[in-house]
């Protein structure tokens, strides 16, 4: 089960403080990057819930985010539905799609589950690419942001939008912790460690997997709806499998199954990407090399490494906890 400890609280406070500092001091470009980080952070939280606590390594979360973005764009621009309702609708739709994927994929394990999710993601990608209503290769533009003028906030201002995304990310983090601490979340971790045992205890395994995958999909859909509002333009590239792959990379770089780690990973990834692409066009090379090094080092990402090295200094209980859960095991379970 997911537990907070002193180190995780410290990291959360530092991250929130950093985000707030950036939100109030940065110029336009810095705010755009901050918003990009915050939206990616939501997506990787969704992925960490299923991959880190359920062993369901998904290669369709990028596509789910794209489904959320397209659902919001279609509902708000073509169907003329008010943005708040369109947002709720896109979250519900993405959640439902994810639930179905989770239910169908619940019989597959390991590499087969990865392939199954990849197939569903690609299915969504090619459908969006081909169907005329989605604008094909050209994408869709003219997407409006939520109107919060009732409470005196103009979301078309990038500072307000960044703060808005930060608030939502905080809520998403809280919800993720609640999900993982609920009976459902505990059952999920039980299923990850030993599916047969949980079945023998009378649990309907596929329902647990489908339910959590659906909830995770709702978070991805929310991230998608925000991404659509952020850039105000969407293209099928959002659903490409490489986006899902990058999300997985971020989770691994940050620390699988730590929730806090992927947040750090998201910040590190976006900053690294922007810094490197301003220096060289070959930033994929560096990111790829870092990924290979992190996975081969057998540490559980940046945060997992920090926890195993300094966690015990802060917290005695953690010193035992990290020893019990080797990252190697977490990777092999998946």
């Amino acid at each position: 089960m997911f537990r907070h400890n002193t180190l995780r609280y410290t990291a959360l406070v530092l991250l929130a403080a950093g985000a707030l500092f950036q939100a109030f001091t940065a110029e336009y470009f810095g705010l755009e990057i901050l918003t990009e980080i915050l939206i990616l952070a939501m997506l990787v939280l969704a992925l960490d819930i299923v991959a880190g606590f359920g062993g369901m390594v998904s290669l369709c979360h990028g596509a789910l985010m794209g489904v959320g973005a397209y659902a919001y764009a279609i509902l708000s621009t073509k169907a003329g539905i008010a943005p708040p309702v369109a947002m709720a609708g896109s979250i519900a739709l993405t959640g439902a799609a994810a639930w179905v994927i989770g239910a169908i994929g619940s019989r597959s394990h390991g590499i087969y589950f990865i392939m199954a999710t990849l197939a569903f993601g690609q299915m969504a990608y090619s459908y969006v690419f081909e169907a005329p209503i989605f604008g094909g290769d050209d994408g869709l533009g003219g997407i409006s942001r939520l109107d919060l003028s009732v409470i005196g906030v103009d979301l078309n201002d990038s500072r307000s939008f960044a703060l808005f995304c930060l608030a939502i990310l905080g809520a998403v983090y809280g919800a993720s912790v609640l999900i993982l601490r609920s009976g459902l979340g505990r059952s999920l971790t039980g299923v990850m460690h030993n599916e047969q045992r949980m079945r023998a205890l009378g649990l309907t395994v596929w329902r647990v997997k489908a339910d959590v995958f659906g909830l995770s999909g709702m978070i991805a859909g929310l991230a998608g709806a925000l991404a659509a509002q952020h850039i105000m333009y969407i293209s099928p590239g959002l659903l490409s499998w490489t986006v899902s792959g990058e999300a997985l990379v971020v989770v691994i770089l940050g620390g699988l199954g730590t929730l806090v780690g992927p947040l750090i990973g998201a910040a590190a990834f976006v900053v690294l990407k922007h810094e490197l692409s301003s220096v060289t066009t070959y930033w994929h090379l560096v990111v790829g090399a870092i990924l290979i090094a992190v996975v081969m080092s057998r540490a559980n990402g940046i945060f997992g490494w920090i926890e195993s090295r300094w966690g015990g200094v802060f917290d005695r209980r953690l010193a035992d906890a990290t020893r019990k859960q080797e990252p190697e095991e977490a990777l092999n379970d998946a």
Partner: protein, 289 residues
């Protein structure tokens, strides 16, 4: 659209040609997976490397030099990858392997961009295979027929090696139960190494033969990866029968889907894959019963 016999023959030949290209790629990937339980997402990048080596060599010594030497060069890259990375990742779980090879895709993608640039390269069809042949009442480019024949020849050769020779028996034993095979005195590690190299060489060969048909671009490896994965998952991991069946299914569904139901064509193959995963999660012809 003239739906006469010639039209169907032409489409069937197109489907067959696509199938054979995918077969060359998927056979290496699937046997590597079946034998080593290793998921090599970078297999598509090796195919792209094959195409680039072929293009460079063709510029120096003509098409056939590229055709014969590109697979050797790609196998050389495979040896480097094997001794540098893959040997150490053998005991890790599938997720770690997926991630390392995903990182490798990034690295190889940018390395090809650094060495060969972003612009697409093109190589000419060799003069020997340049024309058209009349085949079953239709005119068809000789080069595409050559790909079909090459694919069938490699299928035949692999089928013979796997079912009739001693090394084939050793590979089948390794796929079936590697621990038991090792107990019986088979050097399973060396077997893995050989199979890995042959798989890489076939990926390079696929790249070399595909180069004159498609333009050679850095992302051609990414584009072919998903079809290849679909082929091996539909066919079942680890078996020759699965690879050829999956390739034919993919080639025909894709080609005839594009002709008969253009709106549905791209979704069709993924729906088929989803159906296979639901009904037979291990694929149609898995290596293990």
């Amino acid at each position: 659209m003239a739906h006469d016999l010639g039209f169907w023959t032409l489409q069937a030949l197109n489907a067959l040609q696509l199938s054979m290209l995918l077969f060359l790629l998927s056979i290496g990937l699937t046997v590597i997976f079946g034998l080593m339980h290793f998921v090599n997402l970078a297999h598509g990048s090796l195919y792209a490397l094959g195409a680039y080596f072929a293009a460079s060599l063709a510029a120096v010594g003509g098409y056939w030099m590229g055709f014969f030497l590109a697979p050797v060069a790609v196998a050389g890259v495979g040896i480097l990858l094997y001794s540098g990375l893959i040997k150490r990742m053998r005991k890790s779980g599938p997720m770690a392997q997926v991630l390392v090879t995903f990182g490798l895709i990034f690295v190889l993608l940018d390395l090809t961009r650094i060495f060969w640039g972003d612009l697409a390269l093109a190589i000419d069809v060799p003069t020997l295979l340049g024309g058209r042949l009349t085949f079953l009442g239709v005119e068809y480019p000789t080069y595409r027929l050559f790909i079909i024949v090459l694919g069938l020849a490699i299928f035949g050769a692999l089928a013979f090696v796997l079912s009739r020779t001693q090394i084939g028996a050793m590979i089948r034993a390794g796929v079936d139960n590697d621990a038991m095979a090792a107990c019986l005195g088979i050097n399973v590690e060396r077997l893995f190494f050989i199979v890995f190299c042959v798989g890489c060489a076939l990926a390079g060969l696929a790249g070399a033969v595909a180069a004159p048909l498609l333009s050679v671009t850095p992302d051609m490896g990414l584009q072919i990866l998903i079809p290849t994965l679909i082929v091996i998952v539909i066919g079942g991991l680890g078996s020759l029968k699965g690879a050829i069946a999956g390739s034919l299914i993919y080639g025909f569904v894709q080609t005839f889907g594009a002709v008969l139901a253009p709106q549905l064509a791209s979704v069709l193959i993924y729906a088929l894959l989803a159906a296979v995963l639901v009904i037979k999660p291990e694929g149609l012809f898995p290596a293990k019963g």
